[in-house]
Amino acid sequence: MTWLTGILKDWAASDFAWRFRTSPPVIFATVVFLALIFCAAAADIIAPHNPFDPATLEIMDSRLPPAWLEGGTTKYLLGTDEQGRDILSSIFYGMRISLLVGLAAVLFSVTIGVLLGLAAGYFGGWVDALIMRLGDVQLSFPTIMIAFFIDGVAKIVMPVAMREEMRFYVVILAIGVADWVQFARTVRASTMVERRKDYVAAARISKVSGARIVLTHILPNTIGPVLVLATLGLGVAILTEAILSFLGLGMPPSQPSLGTLIRAGNDLLLSGEWWISLFPGAALVLLVLSVNMVGDWLRDVLNPRLR
């Protein structure tokens, strides 16, 4: 265990940790973000109900207001929706879907982007030209538009039985595909910088293979900015998913994300049953806000250009 305490001590003494300790908003955002992740990940355990096990739903418990309002019950802290689903539990589960979709989409675009960026940056020449022109074309369509099209078209052309099941993957694909360019560009830029660095030349002189150089030397040195971008990208991906779901193109009601919950509750906005859409809405904003705050801070701290 001594090595662990050693690492922790090193970390605690580092500039990074110091800057973290001295920014209360970031600490707060990190705590909120971790708490939300925990709620989402442990939804099965900590959610008071499982709103997506249809067998447990009581339609007679529908549309109950939050516990502190008249008619509310502590059984459902944030109230219930029209199906009698506990809003609090719905938020936990919905956040899980939102986070999963966001993370998977970002992972997808990071993977594609990093691979293409490494290839473009290291090999240069026509490989580079091809990939970058492809990126230009891709950038000619706003992210949300690409997601929109992939999603909309998939909804139309997929066989009936597969539609709902494949939604999750289609949404991930739709959001992920659109976003690879920024990662590819970043990785390409830093690859081109790293490629010209002397340690790469030293490795080449020592007859280290190209693939090995890319993977062991260049990749680790390009991943920093990618991580920052990915953090900020996570916020965008979650938002994009919410927008798609709100327009009815994202996650279906059977696997509702926060966006789907808001969409369902949107119709009830005027009826006085505001908690059905506003609580998931607040959860969404809180989630994205905390992600963005942490990402922002990471960028400020890790971006050597801004130091």
Binding site: K197, D198, Y199, A201, A202, A203, R204, I205, S206, V208, H217, P220, N221
Partner: protein
């Protein structure tokens, strides 16, 4: 009698390297411009004796770094050849030490790993560790330093680590690309002394690149002076420094601040370096040359041996030699 070139470890003959810096195809069509070729290295020949130091000096853009990259095999020459004189024509074991002490080590690798990188893959992990320790001691660092990261070292120490890495593969030829120009003077002398010691102890051969003439003077056996991709003078260190022949060499030596003679007033070399894209015709130095004659702008001078044993590419020197 054996000539120098026969025993030389490395022989560079008529070496040339051109870069295509043309605009994209479409643009060339639109502007009706042709391809643009930069001759970074143009018809350069020299040889390095085993166990000696050959230096190339010149200002930025003269092509000296390109030569090291060509010798190192990082780039392919577009003309001429580089021949190594090794037993059984085995590939020469060469390594390189770079100018920038920050960029020459992977910042995310412990230095032990960087030093071990050039080692034979067959060597066992334990042996590698031991060898890394030895190398660190050789360059004046502690074996325990192997576990540290580059940012924990000063610039001078990092250059020592680079040297240790270069030695790790039992290199016989070291390419030294301005290894001390980023260092402070007090540290520079440490590294220079180390390089000299190592050469004596291990019989290393150095190809040394620098713009700093006094550093070159300390380390070198022979010197080549380059200007705009061409070698203009080549000779022993003593000959070049004490009896420079080419007007460029003379002026270059003239511009160097002289520590032993402070506060002197001198007439600096006028004009800017010409663009390598449009090198002057004939002798590339003629627009700035105080001795320029008509022939200089038309005929390219060839390297010719002169009295002090150097070779010089200059019409004026050749004529002077002929008339005297």
């Amino acid at each position: 009698m054996q000539t120098a070139a026969d025993t030389a470890l490395i022989k560079v003959v008529n070496l040339g390297k051109s870069f295509d810096v043309s605009e994209p195809f479409l643009q060339r069509v639109v502007t009706r411009s042709g391809r643009k070729i930069v001759k970074a290295v143009d018809d350069v020949s020299f040889a390095i004796e085993r166990g000696t130091t050959f230096s190339i000096v010149g200002e930025s853009g003269c092509g000296k770094s390109t030569i090291t990259r060509l010798v190192a095999g990082l780039d392919r020459p577009t003309a001429g050849e580089i021949a190594f004189n090794t037993p059984n024509a085995a590939p020469v074991r060469l390594q390189m030490v770079f100018q920038d002490p920050i960029g020459s080590l992977n910042p995310r690798w412990r230095i032990g790993r960087s030093i071990a990188e050039p080692m034979d893959k067959a060597v066992s992990a334990a042996d590698r560790l031991a060898r890394v320790g030895d190398l660190l001691k050789t360059v004046g660092l502690a074996p325990a330093d192997a576990g540290k990261y580059p940012h924990e070292f000063s610039g001078g120490q990092r250059q020592r680590i680079s040297i240790a890495r270069a030695l790790a593969a039992d290199a016989e030829l070291l390419l030294l690309d301005e290894p001390t120009s980023a260092l402070d003077v007090s540290v520079q002398s440490q590294v220079l002394n180390l390089l000299k010691d190592l050469q004596e102890r291990l019989g290393l051969t150095y190809l040394f690149i620098s713009h700093n003439l006094s550093v070159v003077r300390f380390l070198t056996d022979r010197i080549g002076v380059m200007y705009l991709g061409r070698l203009v003078e080549e000779g022993s260190g003593k000959a070049v420094f004490e009896t420079p022949q080419h007007p460029y060499t003379k002026l270059l030596l003239e511009t160097i601040p002289d520590m032993e003679n402070p506060r002197r007033d001198r007439e600096p070399l006028t004009g800017d370096l010409p663009s390598p894209l449009k090198p002057p015709s004939g002798c590339v130095f003629h627009p700035r040359c105080p001795l320029a004659m008509d022939v200089c702008s038309q005929v390219r001078p060839e390297m010719q041996a002169v009295a002090n044993g150097s070779k010089v590419a200059c019409h004026a020197v050749a004529q002077g030699a002929a008339t005297t």
